[in-house]
Every structure is written in structure tokens, then in C-alpha cells.
């Protein structure tokens, strides 16, 4: 809360919205509550956002933004495709620690208000594009075998989302995440079959 007071009003409101939408679903969240948590007046919220919907949308947008920016940065260009993949998986779990509410919202709110779903898809597509590139690179340099890059990207994104859900809703202890990521990578890299 003290930290929040240092942000400007709009950021405070978004942060408050994130916290609260992270706790309860859309319809159970009151604008007044968000205003209170942000330590601003109810009317102030409407000075920055045209209504509940737009606030929600912008908040999702923000979360995506942060996630994708940091994820790309985390992976960087260096190292083998495997290494990059590993870093991506790790960042993913790190994001949950760092931005718990955002993770909760991104993992939970699949059914988005219509205009935002487009933005979500676009971001999703970006991320998938990045994964595809990474996999293609791995294939060309001989690290990976010839798999359907589109499908595998999809699976990876799915795994990411599920990991969040597992951590957030099933309370998979974050502490174990290191070894979990390794095991997941092992599965994906080496497969399930005996030989």
C-alpha cells in the first residue's frame, strides 16, 4: 500500500484493480472497492477509465504487456534453443511469484469481454510466433527433430497456462518449481517412450 501511494493515480488504480480482480471474479468486484484500495475517490476512477469494462480491459492488457515483454527479455537471443526454452519455462514460474495477481487473472479469465479477446489473441499469437521461431531454430541447428512447430508451440503455451493453474489453484508449491520445470523439460525433450 505504501508503495502504491508512490505511483501516479492511474497506475494505482490499475494495481488495485489487478489485486482485486485477482481475488474475485468480475461480477463480484465493486468499483468502489477498487477506488478504496487505490486510495482515490470513486469518481476518480471514472476520470481515468470510462467504466468497469474498460478498466478491466486495460488491466488485462497491462498484464499481458508485462508478461510478454519480460518473457522475451528473459529468453534473449543467446544460447542453444534448449537453453532458451529452459529460461522461458523458468521465467514463467518466476512471473507467478512476481506478479501473482496478474498470473491469476491471465490464467483464470479465459472468457474475456469481446474487444479485449482480440488483443489477447494477438498477444497469444506473438508468443506463439516466438516459440515457433525458437523451435525452428532448434530444428535447423540439429537440436530438435522435425516436429510440427505450430502444434508444439501450442502445447507449450498450454503447458504454461496449466502450470499457472496448477500453482494458483491446486497449490502446487512454488518451491518445487525448479525441479518441476526440469522434469517437464525432460518430458518434452526426451519423450515418454522407452527408447
Amino acid at each position: 500500500m505504501k508503495i502504491m501511494l508512490e505511483l501516479d493515480k492511474k497506475a494505482r488504480i490499475l494495481a488495485a484493480a489487478m489485486e482485486i480482480f485477482g481475488e474475485r471474479p468480475y461480477h463480484a468486484v465493486k468499483m468502489e472497492e477498487i477506488a478504496e484500495r487505490a486510495s482515490v475517490g470513486k469518481g476518480t476512477v471514472y476520470g481515468y477509465f470510462s467504466g468497469k469494462d474498460e478498466l478491466f480491459r486495460e488491466m488485462i492488457h497491462e498484464s499481458f504487456e508485462v508478461y510478454f515483454r519480460e518473457a522475451l527479455a528473459a529468453v534473449s537471443e543467446q544460447g542453444t534453443a534448449k537453453d532458451q526454452l529452459r529460461r522461458l519455462f523458468h521465467y514463467h514460474l518466476y512471473f507467478i511469484e512476481k506478479h501473482a495477481s496478474a498470473a491469476r487473472i491471465l490464467a483464470g479469465e479465459r472468457r474475456l469481454p469481446n474487444p479485449e479477446i482480440e488483443v489477447a489473441k494477438e498477444r497469444y499469437a506473438n508468443m506463439k510466433g516466438f516459440l515457433s521461431q525458437l523451435l525452428s531454430k532448434g530444428i535447423s541447428n540439429g537440436e530438435f527433430r522435425e516436429i510440427d512447430v505450430q502444434i508444439v508451440s501450442e502445447i507449450f503455451l498450454g503447458t504454461f497456462t496449466s502450470l499457472w493453474a496448477a500453482v494458483i489453484f491446486n497449490e502446487l508449491p512454488l518451491a518445487e518449481s525448479e525441479s518441476v520445470v526440469d522434469k517437464i523439460l525432460d518430458l518434452y525433450l526426451n519423450g515418454l517412450s522407452k527408447s
Copy 2:
């Protein structure tokens, strides 16, 4: 709709709720609409369900029920673990075709009202248990190598959910599902690495 009129009232209401909750999120669904779609009076809904929450809960419960019952049946006991796994993946996509609304709801409504989340977790655990068994069996009979059964089960469930989401929200054409499932299985069985 004609078919619905042959069901008893409670089933009609659940079916209507499924359709509509499949279209829009919880807070955008009106009890009146459900009653209309079910061709019953608004008050009648309250004869069968104590309120909107319970109706929602029961509807989720139903969806899970159907899914898990049919999934288990589809897999049966026979065949290799691989075959069973394959049948499970196929059933999963079949479910989307057969019960589109249910799939939409199960995939989309992660943020459940609190008491229901417990039921969801239980079902989820059941399913995971079944997958674990299947994997363990595959390991003992030499089909699979020694992987962390818990983690891999988790990943599989995640892949299931993501497949739904991909089909439902990103409009992955269902027609391609056969080959997609094969590619997914290939990834999981043989891994990503070259050798």
C-alpha cells in the same frame, strides 16, 4: 429445442444453463433468460435450484460428470497404455464436438465460486489419478520410461484444457483434430530432442 422439451424440467434447465453460460460469463447471464430458453417459468428454476450459484455449480458438476464418465469408458481397460492414451486424447476432442457448451464452460470458467472449486478439484484429482495409473502401468510394462508420473499427468491435463481452448477460442479447426492428436502423441511419446 424440440428435443429439450422431451426432457424433464430439471434437465431442460440445466441444458439451457449450459448453453447460455457457454455463451457469456456468469455475470452476463440472467436467470430469466435461462428460464426462457428452458421454456419454464422463472419461478420454476427456483423449484429445482436454490439460486443462480447453485444452478451454476450443478451445471459444472454435470459437465464434469459426463466428461469423466465417458472418458473412462472410452479408455476402458484394454490395450497397451499407449493405445489407452491415444483413445483418451481422441475422446477429448470428440467431447468438444458432442458437448460444445460444456467444453466451453470447463475450459473457460477457471474462477469458480468457492464451494464448487472443491468439487472441481476433486474431479480433477480423479482424472489425474486415472492418468497416473495409466502412466504407471505403461512404465511397469516397459512401454514408458521412468518419468515423474505426477508431473506428466498434470501436463496431460493441461494439454487437454489447452486443446479445448485452442479449438474453442482460437478456432483450431476440429476437422484437423485427428492428425493433431497424432502429432501431440508423437511429441509426448518421442520427445523433442534429436536422439
Copy 3:
């Protein structure tokens, strides 16, 4: 109030709205107050009218309706044009006694919400048409001299409205209305000039 309870709900709400909009201008009237005065729940009002605006509109519409229907009936077809004119003036003042709130609203609320202003104009035109006919008849049968029927109709309508305003806002005692009407008619019939 007791009388109102015998009316059906919609009529009760309209009557309550008439009373209250008759007391205070649009923006100072609360929907809740109307509901209370009509002895119905706040939500009930919205069952009959889509909102405050529509309620206001319908209420104006009603008032016009009553006024014009009764005015035409009062004048009827019989008698000389002068007699009919006299009856119309008298009815006009009678309306204030019988429908005080309606008169107050019709006299006071010139600035109507846009769609309703059209209805108002139409009614106004109807009334003017009726007066024109009456004057024309008086001209043809030699009662009146050749005046501009349009203008004089307009003036008469204006006089009507002003009479209301005088009674309602300046508190011209209704008791004197009989003789006032006679004096007005005298002015209009015989003019101001000496000979």
C-alpha cells in the same frame, strides 16, 4: 391515494408521476418517489416504463390526450361558432380544476425531450386545426369578419396557455374564471378600438 389504489399499476404510476412532475421540475424528481407515491416497488416502475424519460414522455402524452379528447367533446358540433368558442374557453379553465397537475405540466414544460416535442407539435397542430375550422365556420356563416384564421388560432392557443400560467403561477383565482372568460371573449369578439 385511496382512489389511486383502485387503478391498475401502470395508471397508478402515471398518476403519481403527474402529481410529482407537477410539483417539481424533471431533474428534481426521483424515480423512487414516484414509485412510493404509486405504492409500488421501484423496480415495478421499470416494468412499465423503460426509464425516467419514457415515463415522463408517456405522462405528457397522456395529459395531451385527455385534454384534447375532452376539449373536442366539450365543444361538440352544435350551436353557433361563438357558442362553441365560449364552451372551449370554459372547458379550458375547467381542465385546470379537474386536472391541476396535468395543466401545470402542459403549461410549464415547454422544453420537452426531443422525440416527445414532435408529439406535442402534432397535438398542437390538431388543436389549431380544430380552432381554424371553427373560425372558418364562423366566417362563412357571417358570425366573424374575415380575419387570418391561422394567426387567430395561434393567438387563441397562446391565450389558453397563458390563462393556465396566470391561474397556476400568478394565482389568478379560479373562482373569477367565469367572468374572466367572458371578458376575454368580449375582447376577442369586439376588439379594443372604440368603434
Copy 4:
């Protein structure tokens, strides 16, 4: 607008209020809009007026002031009573052209906030007094016959208001006003009856 910028702030605000209250009813006018139209800050309005009500009141007051001052001047003392009456009618229509918003407001806003209604009544009484004098003068010098001076004054004021309304709301073309005034005077002076 350029002209407005030359006025002092208070006059600018009043002028802006007049324009906007002339367009829409009280409750649909926002203080912010008035401030913008006057090219001053929202807070500045409160430096000159204690609130929306007072601003509205002063604006009405202003309009009355202008109207009555100019009307009296236009009529002056000279000429026959008939001539003065003629000049008054003509001034009236001139006022509509010159001060359209003011006319609109004076014609439309019958339902005034309570304290102001007193001022309005006072002004109205002044005007009526003037008309009465004029009529009395006409009677004493033999121009007019013996009519009830009070009633006829009232009727004339009513006609004025109605003329406004006719021009403003029914879109009676102002161009025709000259001949219209003549016809009105003809009616009032010579009456409706044949002989």
C-alpha cells in the same frame, strides 16, 4: 466567440450559460460545459456565482432586465396608445431575433427555481403595469373602449409569450413577423365579430 473574449469573465459566463440553457433544459446542462463555452476554468464559475442555481437565476434575471429595459425604451412616451402598442409588439419580435437564447429561456422555463420565480413575477407585474397604463391612457383619450384593463394586459402578455413559443418552437418564420404583428393588432383592435 471572439466577441465573448472581450467581455469580462462574469459576462462571458452569463453569455455562455444563456446559450447553453437556451439549447437544453436545466438538468441537461453541465457546469463544465458552461465553463468551457466561456473559456474559463470550472472553478472560476464558482468565483462569480455560488452555484448552478444562482447562475441560472442571474441569467434569467439578466434576460428579463434586458427585455424590459429595451421594451420600455422602444415604446417611449410618444404617440397614440395604438402606436405604442404597435411598437411594443414589434419590439417583441425584434427581441427574438436579437436575443434568441434569452427568448428561448424566457419562453420555455416557466418552472423556475423558487426564489427566482418571485423576481420573475415582479418583472411580469412591472410589464403588466406598463401595459395597463398604456391601455388606461388609450381609454381616457378615447382610442379604446372600456375594457377590463387587467385582463387585457394579461392577454397581451400571454400573446407575447405565445408569439415566442410559436416562433421558437413551431418555427413560424420571423420574416413574416411584420404582417403577423399587423394582423394580431387588427384582431385586438377590431375584434372578431362582424360588426
